[in-house]
């Protein structure tokens, strides 16, 4: 184990996977200079055939990725900010998610799309979206949302080794956060949530950028003698509903924390699964702590107000403390 920053963990995974398999190719706008630092050093090590700066042409980048992946390469496409996923959305929604079926299984698409997501740094509405609900609904795309350096490294390795297209979404601006990462070549499997805190009073489901504040809230709750169980999903597709349901079986209560806009959020879908498949366990309403259905404002206080916070999560949990 070694302590490293989130961004270094991503970088480590890229280095190791590119060393492991020379079919792994990285493309994207300025992946050489690497604004976020996650692709730093790869060009020096692997050269321009395997690490390639591209023009600003997102509609083509996503389409090219499909073509190159269908031709035997494992393509890692760095899209920088999540909002640019929309610019390349046609080939994602109409080709990447659909060709494996449409060709009757002739094509598999080992694609990893990396992008940073979420608000909190006054990047304003065009650089702060949380895009996973939109991607989750397309079908056929895996989605990883790591919240720790170790998970970032392990999930990215799994993504690159997977034969299905995967979106790997980094919580924006968290590149500097430290955590332990195993030295060994360890993958984190898809569809298996982690349980950073075990408890019996209420289930808190979190993902990616929200985990940090959920853990903080959990400490506050514990200090008030409420013992939450925290589930960090790690991947949204596939979704570890087994872990969620068995936690709710124990606690009877669940709050889901998600930085996406509320309508049709991941939180909505998890709610829907629980009230369908776990209704008999439920002792209270299911609360969602999400972002209201508005674009992100620029001004820091207005932005902060919309993003899930310790206060809002704490409050949501407390509303479940009466009998229903």
């Amino acid at each position: 184990m070694v302590q490293m920053r989130f961004i270094q963990a991503i970088n480590k995974a890229l280095f190791e996977e590119m060393a492991r398999d020379d079919k792994v190719i990285l493309i994207g706008e300025d992946v050489e200079a690497s604004i976020f630092g996650d692709t730093r050093g790869l060009i020096e090590r692997f050269g321009p055939n395997r690490v390639r700066n591209t023009p600003i042409s997102e509609a083509t980048l996503t389409g090219m990725t499909v073509g190159a992946a269908a031709s035997g390469y494992r393509i890692v496409l760095h899209m920088m900010f999540s909002n640019f996923i929309y610019t390349g959305f046609d080939a994602i929604a109409n080709q990447m998610a659909k060709l494996p079926l449409m060709t009757g299984g002739q094509i598999s698409l080992p694609i990893t799309v990396i992008a940073s997501y979420g608000g909190g740094r006054s990047t304003a509405a065009q650089h702060s979206d949380t895009p996973y609900p939109v991607l989750m609904n397309l079908g056929g795309l895996n989605i990883a949302v790591p919240s720790t350096p170790a998970d970032a490294c392990g999930l990215l390795k799994s993504a690159i080794r997977s034969n299905d297209p995967t979106f790997f979404l980094e919580p924006g601006g968290r590149g500097g956060e430290m955590g332990e990462v195993p030295d060994e070549d360890i993958t984190v499997p898809f569809g298996v949530a982690s349980l950073p805190i075990k408890g019996k009073d209420v289930t808190l489901v979190t993902m990616g950028s929200c985990t940090k504040i959920v853990l903080e809230t959990a400490q506050q709750l514990i200090s008030k003698d409420v013992n939450p169980e925290v589930i960090d999903l790690r991947t949204l597709v596939p979704l570890d509903k087994k872990t969620i349901l068995s936690s709710v079986k124990k606690t009877g209560k669940i709050v889901i924390i998600d930085e996406a806009r509320d309508t049709c959020s991941a939180a909505s879908h998890i709610s829907a699964i629980v009230v369908d498949e776990g209704f008999q366990y439920l002792k209270a309403p299911i609360r969602r702590v999400t972002v209201p259905d508005t674009p992100m404002p620029y001004a820091p206080n207005s932005e902060k107000y919309l993003i899930p916070s310790v206060e809002r999560i704490y409050k949501a949990v407390m509303t479940l403390n009466k009998s229903y």
């Binding site: 190719i25 055939n49 591209t54 023009p55 042409s57 509609a59 083509t60 996503t62 389409g63 090219m64 990725t65 499909v66 073509g67 190159a68 992946a69 269908a70 031709s71 035997g72 390469y73 393509i75 046609d90 080939a91 109409n94 080709q95 060709l99 494996p100 079926l101 449409m102 060709t103 009757g104 299984g105 002739q106 094509i107 080992p110 079908g139 056929g140 895996n142 799994s158 080794r161 997977s162 034969n163 299905d164 499997p189 898809f190 569809g191 596939p238």
Partner: protein
């Protein structure tokens, strides 16, 4: 604009190409009849009149070369070596279709033949082809990629993006614009400014603008353009003028209020037929036509005897093995 080389195809080659053109025509006609008879679950977009283009280009391609195509892709598929019966089965929605009945007319693909696929998204195949060409370049092979698209598709911005990237990276991609004078029901010049092939010029890509109804011209141009690409020169662009004999889609007259082409245009268009042009040069043309007719009829009939895929086919294909991904 490059001038044409003087090479001409051998008699054998010409005959082979004639047979393929006739096969495509016969297939399209059979599909139209099947569509009218209710045997194609979806609509079909026929390529009658455009056969010379894909046939002329494909004579220079091997199974290792790849193509992407568009919604009007039956001819591209067959000319590139796709299996006739497997295509019929696909379009009839059968389990033994080339895509298991999952794709249909607008999506026929056979990777084993280098057919990365037709595409229902106008312009969708161009960026995919660019990615395939990127892969070819990384492979270090001298295989090439051809992307077929229409005049209408030329207005999709991805075209410019891909012209830039392929030129920049010298990718082995042949752009083939089949300019058939219409984008659905809009005459090309009402939606497309200037000469389409000129759009490749600012990127330094060599351009040919040809009569797509003359197979020898297509064959010659294809040879030269492909030679340029195989020898590492980067992308090339062919704009082939042609005419869409059977309109935009199979039963358009049922949804249109009034004709969008004059009778005169129809008459001229039908007369300027690549098969009619070529026929006098082919010994035994009639026999070939008869053989092809039989072959196509047999393939279509055999396809109609197929069985549809399992109801849960899509679910099975997508979910059978969640972890199928790991290697």
């Amino acid at each position: 604009m490059k001038k044409l080389p003087n090479n001409i195809p051998t008699k054998d080659e010409l005959q082979k190409m004639f047979r393929m053109m006739v096969t495509i025509r016969e297939t399209e006609n059979t599909l139209l009849a099947s569509n009218k008879a209710g045997n194609t679950p979806g609509q079909v977009h026929l390529s009658n009149g455009q056969e010379a283009i894909c046939v002329g280009i494909s004579s220079h391609l091997t199974d290792e070369d790849q193509i992407t195509s568009n919604h009007r892709g039956h001819g591209h598929f067959l000319a590139k070596g796709g299996n006739l019966k497997a295509m019929f089965s696909e379009i009839y929605g059968m389990a033994d279709g080339v895509c298991g009945g999952m794709g249909g007319s607008m999506h026929v693909a056979d990777l084993s033949k280098g057919i990365v696929g037709a595409n229902g998204i106008v312009g969708g195949g161009i960026s995919i082809a660019t990615g395939v060409a990127f892969a070819k370049k990384l492979d270090g092979s001298n295989h090439i990629v051809v992307t077929y698209f229409g005049d209408g598709a030329s207005n999709q911005g991805v075209l410019m993006e891909c012209l830039n990237i392929t030129a920049l990276w010298k990718l082995p991609l042949l752009f083939v614009c089949e300019n058939n004078g219409y984008s659905e029901f809009s005459p090309t010049k009402t939606v497309t400014k200037g000469d389409i092939s000129m759009r490749a010029k600012p990127f330094g890509i060599p351009i040919w603008q040809i009569n797509g109804n003359e197979i020898i011209e297509v064959w010659q141009t294809g040879q030269e353009a492909i030679e340029h690409i195989r020898s590492g020169g980067g992308p090339a662009f062919i704009e082939a003028k042609t005419w869409r004999q059977s309109g935009h889609f199979s039963r358009e007259n049922l949804v249109l209020q009034k004709p969008y082409r004059t009778e005169e245009e129809e008459k001229e268009g039908l007369a300027d037929d690549p098969i009619i042009h070529l026929t006098p040069k082919i010994d035994g043309a009639e026999l070939i036509m008869k053989e092809v007719k039989d072959e196509v009829e047999r393939a279509s009939k055999a396809a109609l005897m197929g069985t549809p895929p399992a109801s849960n086919a899509a679910k099975k294909l997508m979910f059978s093995d969640t972890y199928k991904g790991y290697y």
